[in-house]
Symmetry: C2
Subunit: 378 residues, 2 copies
C-alpha cells in the first residue's frame, strides 16, 4: 500500500449555540430522527415518507403546487435547479441584486445563457418595486423575474407580493429565494403568485444543512416540459427528477436520496405543524423584539430600516473600537456562541445575529445579549 | 391561512437488512455520529474536521491528490462535478458503456457540449481495453476517457489500470466512476493514473447516502483552472469550491456544507482506517465466496464471469418460475430484507445482492441465504 492510514479518531464536536445566519440550533428531537435506521430509497416505507414530506412542505410554502419536494443538496443546488430548468439560452431575465444572494442569481442566469437585466438596490435595502416595473417597461421581452425574498447577507426583506404582481402583469415567471424566510416570516407562494422558490433546511426549519425544499407552479412546470433546449444539468433536470419524486404510482430510479437527512427534515416539518406557522412567525417576531431591545440598549444600531427588517436575521453595525474577528473569536471560544460576520462590502462592519427556528427562544436571546455585552465592553 | 397543516406524525422507519446495490447497512456507530450537535460550516472545529476527512479520503482512494474531498450531494452530483469541470464544449470524450452508469456518463458528456465516442460492451461484461485502444487510435484528438470501474447495474469490474495506461499513452485524462468499488475492492487512483474519480458514501463505506467523495489529479486541476469557457454549473465549479475546501488558510464561503452527514462520513472513514483497506477488501471477498457457495447450491448462476465479478455486488439470474416482484416483496415484508432488482434490459431477469461495507459479514450472508431459499422454494 502506497498510502498508510492516517491516525485520526472519532470527531466529537463542541456544543455551540448557533446564532449566525445558519445553520441554526438543531433540537435533539431532529438529531435523533436522523440517527434512525437507514432504509432503501425505493422502499415503500421511504416513498410513503417522501409523500408526507411533500405534503408538509406544501403547508410550509402555503401552496397547492404538486411539484414541491426537497432537492438532495444544499440551498445553492435548489437555486441552480430553479435556474437551469426555467432559463433557456437567450431568455431575458430581470435579476434583482441587493446583497450576496442576488449576485448568485445573476451568476446562475449567465451560466444558463440567459440575458440578465440587473435591478440594483443598496445592500441592506429591500428590492424597490418601481425599479422592477421600470425594468419590465424597458424590457417587455423579459421572461423571468428573479429576486431574493429574505437577503441572508443583510437581513432585508423584500415585498414579494408586489414583485409577483408586476412579473405576472408582464407575463413573466418569478423565481424567489426564500432560504432564510421559510418558517420564520410569511412565505405565501400561491397568494403572491410565485412560480419557483427554493429554501434551505438549516435556517428557520432548524434542521441540519444539506437539503433544499423547492416548489414549482404548473406554469413553471409547463415551461420545463416544453423547453426547446435540454437542461444543462443531468442531476437537476426536473424532467428526470419528476420520475422519482412524482406521486404517480411507478417511481423511476434517478439518484439515491439522502435518507437520514430526510428523516431529519420530516421531523422538523412535523414540529412546524405542531406549532403552526402563525405561532412560529409570532415567536420569531417576539424574540427579535427582545434581542433588539437589548442590542439597542448597548447602543448598537440596525443595518436595515425597520419596515424591511427580518426578525430572524439581525444585522447590526459593530460598535466603534471593537475588533470584529477578535470579538467573534471570544464569543466562540469563551461562550461557545456563533454569530455571523458581514459578507462582501459589509465584511468587518456588521454582525449578523440569527434567531432562526429553534434558536428563536428566550434562552438564546438572553445568552447572546450577555455574551455580546461581555466582549463589547472589554 | 389558505393551507392547513397536514396531520402527519414522526416517521419511525422499519428496521431493514439492506443487501441491495446501496444504501448498505449503516452501523449504529455511524448513525450516532450523525446525531452529534450541529456546528457552523465555518467553525474552526468544523474546518479541522474537513481537513481530517480529506486525509482519510486520500487513504481510501490511495492517492496523494491535494484536491480530494466529499461533494455535498449524492454520487450523481460527484459524477456531474467531474464532467462539467473537465469537459469543455467541443472536447472529444471516449465513453465506455457496459451498464446503466456508463450511459449516464454519456448523458453528462452531451450536456457539457462534448463530442462522445462510445465504446460499448455487453451488460455484465467489463470494458474491453482493446476497444478503448481502437477508439483512441481512430480518435487521437480525444481528450478524456470516461469509464465505470464497478458497474452497479451489473456487478462487473473493469481493469482500470489497463484503461488508465491507454488514456495516458494518448495524452488523455481519465474520469472513473468508483461508486461501488471504494472500500470494497482495490481503488488505486495514483497507481492507475486516474485523473478524476467519484464515489458514494452509501456503498462500501456504509455511511448514509448523500455525499460523494471525489479526487482530482494535478493534471485535472490544471485543465479546470485553464478552461477557456466557464463551468456551466455554479454549484459544481471547482474554481469556486476550491476556495472553500482548499486547506490554504483563509476559507471563502461557497455553500453551507451538510454538517451532520459529514460527521457520519468522518466516522465511516475512521472505521475504515481501524480495519485497514486490505482487511476490508479481504472481508468482502470472503463473504462473497460464502454467499456464492450458498446461491450456487440453490442452483443460481452469476451474470458476470468470475474474472470480472465484484464481490460486493452479486448479480444472479432469478430462478425459472420465480416471480421477481412477488419474491422481493416477500423478502421485504416477511424478512425485512432488501435486495436489488435488475435495471434496464436486466429488469425482471436478475437480482443484485449487495455485500457492501458493514453488510459484508457472516450474519448477513446466512440471513440472506435463508430468506432467499424460503421465497425461491415457495
Amino acid at each position: 500500500m502506497s498510502f498508510a492510514p492516517p491516525a485520526i479518531h472519532s470527531f466529537l464536536p463542541p456544543h455551540r449555540t448557533l446564532m449566525g445566519p445558519g445553520p441554526s440550533d438543531v433540537p435533539a428531537r431532529i438529531l435523533q430522527a436522523m440517527a434512525r435506521p437507514t432504509i432503501g430509497h425505493l422502499d415503500p416505507a421511504f416513498t410513503d415518507m417522501m409523500e408526507q414530506i411533500k405534503s408538509l412542505l406544501r403547508y410550509a410554502f402555503q401552496t397547492g403546487n404538486k411539484l414541491t419536494f426537497p432537492v438532495s443538496g444544499p440551498g445553492s443546488v435548489g437555486m441552480e435547479t430553479c435556474f437551469v430548468n426555467l432559463v433557456e439560452p437567450g431568455d431575458t431575465v430581470v435579476v434583482c441584486i441587493n446583497g450576496v444572494f442576488g449576485g448568485r442569481m445573476l451568476e446562475n442566469v449567465k451560466r444558463c445563457g440567459g440575458i440578465p437585466i440587473v435591478v440594483e438596490d443598496a445592500w441592506g435595502a429591500p428590492v424597490d418595486p418601481s425599479k422592477v416595473e421600470a425594468a419590465f417597461d424597458a424590457h417587455p421581452e423579459a421572461k423571468i423575474l428573479a429576486f431574493v425574498h429574505a437577503e441572508t447577507s443583510t437581513g432585508a426583506q423584500t415585498d414579494a407580493a408586489a414583485l409577483g404582481e408586476i412579473a405576472h402583469r408582464y407575463g413573466a415567471l418569478t423565481i424567489m429565494d426564500c432560504v432564510t424566510s421559510l418558517g420564520g416570516t410569511p412565505v405565501l407562494i400561491d397568494q403572491w403568485g410565485i412560480d419557483a422558490a427554493y429554501s434551505g433546511s438549516q435556517k428557520c426549519l432548524s434542521c441540519t444543512p444539506g437539503l433544499s425544499p423547492v416548489t414549482f407552479s404548473d406554469r413553471a412546470l409547463d415551461k420545463v416540459t416544453h423547453r426547446t433546449s435540454p437542461v444543462q444539468s443531468w442531476f437537476m433536470d426536473l424532467n428526470l427528477v419528476l420520475g422519482y419524486w412524482s406521486g404517480d404510482g411507478k417511481r423511476t430510479y434517478h439518484h439515491t436520496a439522502p435518507i437520514n437527512p430526510l428523516y431529519g427534515l420530516h421531523e422538523a416539518l412535523v414540529m412546524l405543524t405542531e406549532e403552526g406557522l402563525e405561532r412560529a412567525w409570532e415567536r420569531h417576531r417576539t424574540q427579535h423584539l427582545a434581542l433588539k431591545a437589548g442590542l439597542e440598549a448597548m447602543g448598537m444600531t440596525y443595518v436595515v430600516d425597520e419596515a424591511a427588517r427580518l426578525p430572524q436575521l439581525n444585522s447590526v453595525y459593530i460598535p466603534h473600537g471593537v475588533d470584529d474577528a477578535a470579538a467573534r473569536s471570544r464569543l466562540l471560544n469563551e461562550f461557545n456562541l456563533e454569530i455571523g460576520a458581514g459578507l462582501g462590502a459589509l465584511a468587518g462592519k456588521i454582525w449578523r445575529i440569527g434567531l432562526m427556528g429553534y434558536g428563536a427562544r428566550p434562552e438564546n436571546v438572553a445568552y447572546c445579549l450577555k455574551a455580546i455585552a461581555t466582549v463589547v465592553d472589554a
